[in-house]
Subunit: 263 residues, 2 copies
DNA sequence: GCTTGGAGAATGGTATAACCAATTCTTGCC
DNA sequence: GGCAAGAATTGGTTATACCATTCTCCAAGC
């Protein structure tokens, strides 16, 4: 056996990781400003002393996360806001941890009442106008966009609560639940949901935090039970097996029971 | 002018995005099981009809997000749990949106009292034992690991609240705040924090949700004001400018005021 | 002077080939 | 049976070439 290298191999030397770290530092230091344009890939690669392929791996990670945007023939730009930065990761989190819609609704039940109370405490007049706007849109707008406005109503409350961290997080949770929530709208009249929303809104408008918390809790508990009923109705979900080309590979090596497992 | 291609160019045709979508489907369908081993890169590339470089871009994204792990000479494996899946994205979110420690503490203030109340409602005996363990570790353990156990105490409460979504999210928030929280421990005696923790624990143990909520709020408000004091004390943070090689590039083209801006 | 083409440059997207280092598997010797 | 050397496999990295899109810029035409 050859002599074991002395250096600890625990810390990964991955070039991609290093590059991402560099970009992180650049952003933190303000060398890279939102909306700003990065040098060309070929130039960046030379600057960092890596190949273009390696650099592209790092850039791709940043693009998928929503940190940058790349356009052919144009260039690479640092995104101003982090709109959908938690989107992809959250979807994989749901997949990998096998998180059910039930648990997602639970998360809403934990957080959103608290956010509603917060909103009642410190919503500006403008915030309240925003919330009212979504309420009215649900009432008079296109019925097909009812679920969309439902969620926008909730997100307006998040903004009123004045915390972008929570806002970002639950915008993602909402998106993951959107399709399921749409199912529930067939079980009740639009007025049903609307009334519950109105009660939340009134509590916020009247600056009654504890009321807002209770109303929100009430609304989400109702939505949750509706969701359970809706899911029971359709029992089996439609399994898509579009990628036929992969069935072979999956039988061979894609499952857990393949050889060469880690000891 | 040449004839404009008829196909809408709005939907991105990015191969990497497609590949990630494929992997997502494979995981969703169960063709890929946690802990399972994926085929070799060269084989996957051939299966999907893409180059190895393109495939590697997709795999790298998944690896950074924590979905898979790659080991040289061994292979690529699907991770069982999504431990740190929101870590990187959250850090970029904080950077890009310019989220301050203040806002992070606000987020904790919104969510953690609600989680504490939840924990008081439904913690198992085992959960309570876990929380107690962290409390004792703070009391008798290594003083240098006091902050670590402080945060572990909070995360034990998250687990007791029984929601992995919230748990994942705020484990990340905690990590982002860890260094700053450590600063505050110099301003008070260990007993100070310990007592506040004990009161939260007792409320949970005695199954008093509203008490737990209040105690947690009390603790976080205290921590927040300590944090403000600590920050005032050191005023200027040490700016690290490690990547000297980049200062040139940043002066040239990395800032927002470069040419070729989007119209 | 202003608009309008069009050529050429720049840029991101992809594919191919080659080599390296780490790990695992296989083989054959003792 | 155990073990060590070599072969095969696998991810990590680099280099190069080509494509399609977009932008820049200058000259021709009005």
């Amino acid at each position: 056996m050859r002599a074991v290298p002395a250096r600890a191999a625990s810390a990964k030397d991955d070039v991609t990781v290093k590059l991402i770290g560099i970009f992180k530092k650049l952003i933190a230091e303000g060398a890279l400003l939102p909306g700003g344009r990065l040098p060309a890939e070929r130039e960046l690669a030379e600057t960092f002393g890596v190949s273009r392929s390696s650099l592209r791996q790092a850039l791709k990670v940043l693009e998928i996360m929503g940190v940058i945007s790349q356009r052919v023939g144009d260039g690479t730009y640092l995104n101003s806001g982090a709109q959908r930065i938690l989107g992809e990761p959250m979807e994989f989190l749901i997949l990998l941890d096998g998180i059910s819609f039930h648990e997602l609704m639970e998360a809403r039940l934990i957080v959103e009442p608290a956010l509603a109370a917060r909103a009642a405490d410190r919503a500006s007049d403008e915030d309240i106008a925003d919330i009212r706007r979504e309420l009215i849109a649900m009432q008079t707008g296109d019925p097909s966009r009812l679920t969309a406005h439902d969620l926008l109503f909730h997100q307006a409350i998040f903004r009123a609560a004045g915390n972008r961290v929570c806002g970002q997080m639950f915008a993602v949770v909402h998106r993951s639940l959107e399709n399921m929530i749409r199912l529930t709208s067939q079980l009740v009249t639009p007025d049903h949901t609307l009334n519950l929303h109105r009660r939340i809104f009134e509590a916020i408008r009247k600056r009654k935090p504890e009321d807002a918390r209770r109303r929100m809790e009430e609304h989400l508990l109702d939505a949750k039970s509706l969701l359970v009923r809706a899911m029971k109705d359709r029992e089996q979900t439609d399994r898509q097996t579009q990628i036929a080309v992969l069935s072979k590979a999956s039988r061979r090596g894609l499952t857990a029971r393949s050889g060469r497992k880690r000891v």
